[in-house]
């Protein structure tokens, strides 16, 4: 690997690791508060919240989950995938270096600037941004005074621009490869290609939505503010955001699907089964991903016809998803599978993806979504996919990428232990969330104890918190094991 690319990739990965560590720590604070509302957090509490006897203050709670979501999506998973594309892609398409490595270097600078702006926003007058990762106006505009929300906007715009630049490089690297044979393009490359395509299509919409939010905050417009301002409508932002926001899930998971397919095939020492069907399924998901966002608005008063349409399109995503799982099972059928680190991560990722994907079905149905919308069930569902499956997929990719970076990956037994501890930890966190949602627990609630009907569910909150601690510890243990044997 070219030393410049190696440096860019290593720095981008380190930034993603830093983001993931911060996001993970934040999630532990959130979990503690939900399990032991108002009680001081052991060890960290007195340092973080000295004025509140070490307990999470009510006013800080929304800021904590806003930062958690923003960091995890825009400054952990996204830069990690950008770096892994830089490392993995050139050899997959027969190139020495990516087409435009300078784009990835610029992306690293933007990611770093964005993270710095986001963290600066925590110290802003009138407090940190506290409107969730979707930044819905007017909560994020008229009702969020001070520089915190503006810094958040700029930070996310930096990440979006960085991702866009990286995606242009991915597209140019694949499409411009001199001896490219599409029929032999590995599924990993297809995953990066489809994800980059979605980025190129939908990140400009996010950037546009952010620009309009900025305009509402600072240029005196009232595009998303009603009533009294003719033409303003907060719901328009919801459409703009989710047109990007739903494909974002597939932007993050398409490379994982490709990597899982290739890792299982390599471990089984045979080509991926039904390769063409998998490429077609990836293409179908890419297409559908832009047509299903309306399920985020099923309870926002969509016309019944529109709601039915979005429901049906959303359910259709299960067809290509079934094709992926069928291909993975077929690849392993009759094969011989020795110990292999990426395969272990991939298998764990498949288990979590099956559960995460299928739990989307009750959410897609207009009728059941009436009960489940904005509940802990939603949080459990998308974390099974976006947190657990993607984390395991990233480790499957990372395990090989470390070799290309000239670093030694942890041993196979360590990797297997880590993969299954991560999977168990994730199941322990997110399955209780599904249960909480079925019990009617709304998400983003600082103190669920205030509601009588939620009292019987407190034990599930505590199970999730213990499992979250296990999940976090497993990542720390991997980091220590890797650091000690890295050269």
């Amino acid at each position: 690997m070219h030393p410049d690319d190696r440096r860019t990739a290593l720095r981008t990965l380190s930034l993603a690791g830093l983001g993931a560590a911060l996001g993970g720590l934040l999630s532990l604070l959130l979990r503690w508060q939900l399990s032991f509302p108002g009680r001081p957090i052991p060890l960290l509490g007195p340092l973080l919240f000295p004025d509140h006897r070490g307990a999470v203050p009510a006013a800080s709670y929304p800021a904590l989950f806003t930062l958690h979501g923003t960091v995890m999506i825009f400054f952990a998973v996204t830069p990690a995938l950008s770096a892994l594309a830089l490392i993995r892609l050139p050899p997959l398409v027969g190139r020495e270096r990516p087409a435009h490595p300078a784009l990835h270097r610029a992306a690293l600078g933007l990611f770093a600037l964005g993270l710095a702006l986001l963290l600066a926003g925590l110290h802003a007058r009138f407090g940190a941004p506290a409107f969730g990762w979707t930044a819905a106006p007017p909560l994020s505009t008229a009702r969020s005074p001070g520089a915190g929300a503006t810094l958040w906007l700029l930070a996310v715009a930096c990440s979006a621009l960085a991702t866009l630049l990286g995606s242009f490089d991915v597209l140019a690297t694949i499409v411009g490869a001199p001896k490219l044979a599409w029929s032999r393009l590995p599924l990993s490359a297809w995953g990066h290609l489809f994800a980059a395509t979605l980025n190129a299509l939908f990140l400009p919409i996010l950037l546009g939505a952010l620009a309009l939010l900025f305009s509402d905050r600072h240029l005196g417009t009232a595009l998303f503010t009603a009533p009294s301002q003719p033409g303003g409508d907060a719901l328009v932002y919801q459409h703009l955001f989710w047109i990007f926001g739903h494909p974002e899930v597939y932007i993050l998971i398409l490379p994982v699907w490709g990597a899982v397919s290739d890792a299982l095939a390599r471990a089984a020492d045979r080509p991926p089964a039904l390769r063409r069907a998998v490429v077609a399924a990836m293409a179908a998901v890419t297409l559908l991903s832009g047509l299903v966002y309306g399920h985020h608005l099923l309870t926002a008063g969509l016309s019944p016809l529109l709601a039915q349409g979005f429901m049906t399109l959303t359910l259709l995503i299960s067809l290509p998803s079934a094709a992926f799982v069928a291909s993975w099972i077929a690849t392993l059928h009759g094969a011989s599978l020795g110990p292999d680190a990426p395969a272990s991560y991939s298998l764990a990722a498949v288990v979590l993806f099956v559960l995460g994907g299928l739990t989307g079905i009750p959410l897609a149905l207009v009728t059941t979504d009436r009960f489940l919308h904005d509940s802990a069930f939603v949080v459990g569902h998308f974390h099974l996919v976006m947190a657990a499956t993607i984390l395991l997929g990233l480790f499957a990719m990372l395990h090989e990428a470390l070799g290309r970076l000239g670093l030694r990956a942890p041993s196979i037994p360590v990797a297997r232990l880590h993969a299954w501890a991560t999977a168990l930890g994730a199941l322990g966190v997110f399955i209780p969330m599904l249960r909480l949602g079925l019990g009617g627990a709304p998400r983003r609630l600082y103190d669920p104890d205030l509601y009588r009907y939620l009292h019987p569910l407190l034990a599930w909150q505590r199970v999730a918190t213990v499992a979250a601690a296990l999940l976090f510890t497993a990542q720390l243990a991997w980091l220590v094991a890797w650091w000690r044997g890295r050269r």
Binding site: P62, A234, V354
Partner: protein, 234 residues
């Protein structure tokens, strides 16, 4: 699921049970198939047994898997469509709900059944409903987006400022329950809750008459009716 106090919530609950059951069955089928092929593959690696060729019917298996999902998807979509509530009956009790950071205001039209008149009854964080009668709710927001969520009455409507959200329900059992704000609306979002009481018809009439008389007395004394009412659409 928490207890259901509504007459129509069973439609949601039944579909939820079916969809969760199917989800669990499909997950079990996939995971058992995966566990089996992985177990055999590991066994082959340990014993250095020869590999089996990929089964010729693998494309058929994929087709079947996709077809199963297509059938399940369409069945569930049709069931969801059939379970939809439709518009409220014309004789439904109408309640206007005004959401703001961080409280719920409920307005009843009073005996004349017209909103914005002197006999309107308004309450703060206190919604009382008669058992057995359909209740239509119109929800508006004064500031940011809020979510009206009645878990035990299986009802929900998200209110965006400048828009009117509509939902309706029919309480089937007397009792007390809670209304939660389900859309993040600021620092005290978690405190934006209201008490909901389903009363017998006699209790409800008694309560409503008491408040309405009180309201009329205040109007007679020259007090303006509480502001914030709107005219109902068709």
């Amino acid at each position: 699921m928490p207890p259901d106090l509504s007459a129509d919530g069973h439609r949601i609950d039944a579909l939820l049970r079916v969809s969760i059951g199917l989800t669990a069955a499909l997950a079990a089928a996939f995971l058992l198939a995966l566990a089996w092929v992985v177990h055999r593959a590991r066994q082959r690696a340990r014993t250095a047994a020869p590999e089996a060729a990929a089964p010729p019917a693998v494309a058929v298996a994929l087709g079947v898997a996709v077809l199963v999902f297509a059938v399940i998807d369409l069945t569930l979509a049709a069931r969801s469509h059939r379970a939809a509530l439709g518009p409220p009956p014309p004789d439904a009790l109408r309640v206007e709900v005004l959401a703001q950071q961080w409280a719920w205001r409920f307005r009843y039209a009073g005996p004349d059944e017209v909103f914005g008149t002197a006999d309107d009854v308004t309450t703060l964080n206190d919604l009382r409903l008669p058992v057995g009668r359909a209740v239509a709710l119109e929800v508006r927001s004064l500031d940011v987006a809020h979510g009206l969520f009645l878990p035990l009455l299986r009802s929900r409507a998200d209110a965006y400022p400048g828009r009117t959200a509509r939902t309706w329900l029919r309480p089937a059992r007397e009792g007390r329950t809670e209304l939660a704000c389900s859309v993040l609306c600021g620092a005290a979002h978690y405190q934006m809750r209201a008490e909901v009481t389903v009363l017998s018809n006699e209790q409800y009439t008694h309560w409503m008459n008491g408040l309405s008389d009180d309201q009329r007395r205040r109007a007679a004394a020259g007090e303006a009716p509480p502001p914030g009412a709107w005219a109902w659409g068709p």
